[in-house]
């Protein structure tokens, strides 16, 4: 009894009426203009320095990084990263492509790249952490679970609703980024070329598979990867929300885990087993750009697999606990 579509409608309405999504949109509306302004300042400085000559700018960055490579004070991991960067910049210079044409699509691309490991999880968790624990802390779970609907259907409807909102968050973020930054940078840039397929092997960047795609295609690929990472964060958030009674506790637990992930990926290059933890694998779009991964041996396929396994595990735990637990409070 109780058809699934109606249950999803219920859950979607509840999230909507709680104004969770409205808050997320509001945050985006405040933050994006701030970043657009910052980006505009950078563009202005570049303009003054290089008189609009992006090749000179690129050449400058290459020589900056090459100089840093010869310094003894920079640790080896950092050098590796810089070496890869220099090779990529050189590739762009050789092929006469400006990697940072200031337009709305470039801005969106960069914003999403930077948002994937903290900002997007934050928005996703604002919804996921609340989904089950709020029903428990307010006691409405007693009404919800005493209706003639199997518990697994209730949780499934919550999961589907969560997927819906995760997708909506990513689409909204991209749309708002494009629309707001376009006011300053112009709405063009969909067909500007971007190189993908850089493969980082130790200190060398393998350019054999490098090919150009348009920025539009790049953004689509990026959105897909970000969606996947966000879904895994959302599902793990849902699990914590099933396990923990209070929304605040479940949100803090998840955010702490996510932040720990960014810290770990900045320092864990020698602790190689850390690569099996989900939170260092969230930056999937960096594989597209060809940035060296935080820990050696990580590839796009590897990260997708690790995230996938964590997601499936979290789903299993959520359903197992939710369908069995005694509601005592």
């Amino acid at each position: 009894m109780g058809n699934l579509l109606a249950l999803v409608q219920n859950e979607t309405l509840k999230v909507w009426k709680k104004k969770r999504f409205a808050v997320i949109v509001l945050i985006l509306l405040i933050l994006i203009p701030v970043f657009v302004y910052a980006q505009m300042k950078i563009a202005q400085t570049n303009e003054e320095q290089f008189k609009g000559d992006w090749r000179a700018n690129l050449q400058d960055r290459i020589s900056d990084n090459t100089r840093a490579l010869s310094s003894d004070r920079i640790p080896e991991e950092w050098k590796q990263w810089r070496r890869a960067l220099v090779q990529q910049l050189q590739y762009y210079l050789d092929h006469d492509v400006n990697p940072q044409t200031p337009n709305a699509v470039t801005f969106t691309k960069q914003f999403i790249d930077n948002a994937v490991n903290l900002f997007i999880p934050l928005m996703v968790l604002a919804i996921a952490s609340d989904l089950v624990s709020s029903e428990r802390s307010t006691g409405t779970i007693k009404m919800l679970l005493t209706r003639p609907v199997r518990r697994w259907r209730i949780l499934l409807s919550k999961l589907l609703t969560l997927s819906l909102y995760v997708s909506l968050i990513i689409v909204t973020t991209i749309a708002l980024c494009y629309l707001i930054s376009g006011v300053i940078f112009g709405y063009s840039g969909w067909d500007a070329p971007v190189f993908v397929g850089f493969q980082v092997n130790g200190a060398e960047v393998d350019t054999a598979n490098v090919h150009a795609v348009t920025q539009g295609v790049y953004l689509l690929m990026q959105a897909g990867l970000v969606w996947f990472a966000a879904m895994v964060v959302a599902i793990i958030g849902l699990m914590v929300s099933v396990l923990v009674r209070s929304t605040a506790a479940s949100f803090v637990t998840m955010m702490a885990t996510i932040i720990a992930g960014t810290i770990l990926s900045a320092m864990a290059s020698s602790w190689t087993n850390a690569k099996y933890i989900f939170n260092v694998n969230l930056e999937l779009s960096s594989y597209l750009r060809g940035t060296p991964p935080p820990i050696e041996g990580m590839t796009l396929g590897f990260s997708l697999a690790v995230l996938g396994i964590w997601g499936i595990g979290a789903l299993f735990v959520s359903f197992f606990v939710f369908t069995r637990q005694d509601i005592l409070n």
Binding site: M1, G2, N3, A6, L7, Q9, N10, L13, K14, K17, K18, K19, T138, G139, T140, K142, M143, L144, L145, T146, R147, P148, V149, R150, R324, D326, I327, L328
Partner: protein, 324 residues
């Protein structure tokens, strides 16, 4: 031949040998009872006796360690969705989504079952008398209104059994009276009601039959009146001249004066008693006694019958058990 009697005594809820351990400790040791169609069944026990845990097991919020629960013949463990479709319930407080209106809440729960129309929602809103405020946010509701909304939600599916857990908690006297009338009205439609309480007086006023639970065990099931009369009652006198009255009472062996530390009358009832004389006497002799006291020049301010407290009823019931 017995079909009529059987039809009248259809079992709506059957609880058989229920047990529950929580954290290795037995919380519910042995709970069995039947609730028949169309009756108001009381579930009486002090706080912490296992009332709420039992109710949570009745509606599948808590899984029993042992025992069976059948609602209209459907096992709640095996077919929760079938068994729960006959049940409306409020467990503890009537908690609804406070960020939605009453109407939106009802729509939400209506969507969880098939065949509940807009008309049915409007109908239950009218039954509980919330028509005026139904489109306001639930967070603006008083406790009494939340209670009504909870009942409206429970009635949506036209349940055969309505479970209310301490429904009078937090209501004012007027609200309690209205609720009592409402419950009687519902029982009149053929619905069975299962009502828990820790107050004997409440159960006495509302229920036909009662199960008494203490320390996780049902210690008695039966007609409310029969159980209460088993415990006896007190006659309390307030007179102008207590000393003289006491003397007169003491002279008669048919009257027993109960000392203050001997009886266990609820303290809330005792407030306002000054120099009251608590006695046990035959109800029929009360008017003769009033005449006698007035004849002796003692003004009688009040005479009242007071039911024993739940605690006392427990003692009587358990004593009876050990003797029998």
């Amino acid at each position: 031949m017995a079909t009529l009697a059987q039809a009248e005594r259809d079992i709506v809820l059957s609880v058989q040998g229920l047990k529950k351990n929580i954290g290795g400790k037995p919380i519910i040791r042995n709970v069995s009872f039947d609730v028949f169609a169309g009756e108001i069944f009381g579930f009486l026990g002090p706080n912490g006796s296992g009332k709420t845990t039992t109710i949570r097991m009745l509606v599948d919020l808590v899984k029993p360690t042992a025992g069976r629960i059948l609602v209209c013949g459907d096992d709640i463990g095996a077919h929760p969705e079938r068994a729960l479709s006959h049940v409306g319930c409020i467990v503890e407080n009537p908690e609804m989504y406070s960020f939605m209106t009453g109407w939106e809440n009802l729509e939400h729960f209506a969507r969880m079952q098939r065949g509940i129309t807009r008309e049915r929602i409007a109908e239950v809103v009218e039954i509980v008398g919330l028509d005026q405020r139904i489109h306001d946010k639930v967070k603006t509701y008083s406790l009494g209104m939340r209670q009504r909304l909870g009942i409206a939600q429970a009635l949506l599916c036209k349940p055969k059994l309505l479970i209310l857990d301490e429904p009078t908690n937090g209501l004012d006297p007027k609200g309690i009276k209205e609720l009592r009338e409402f419950i009687r009205m519902l029982a009149g439609t053929g619905m069975s009601l299962f009502i828990s309480s820790h107050l004997l007086s409440e159960i006495q006023l509302m229920c036909d039959r009662v199960a008494i639970i203490a320390h996780g065990e049902v210690i008695a099931v039966g007609e409310v009146d029969a159980l209460v009369s088993q415990a006896g009652s007190y006659t309390v006198w307030q007179v102008d001249n207590p000393e003289e009255t006491r003397r007169l009472f003491e002279a008669q062996p048919a009257v027993r004066i109960v000392a203050e530390e001997e009886h266990r009358i609820d303290e809330t009832i005792q407030s306002g008693w000054q120099d009251a004389i608590v006695t046990v006497m035959d109800e029929a002799s009360v008017s003769a006694w009033v005449n006698k006291l007035v004849g002796a020049g003692i003004g009688v301010r009040s005479v009242q019958r007071v039911a024993p407290s739940l605690e006392e009823l427990f003692l009587k019931v358990t004593e009876g058990e050990t003797i029998g």
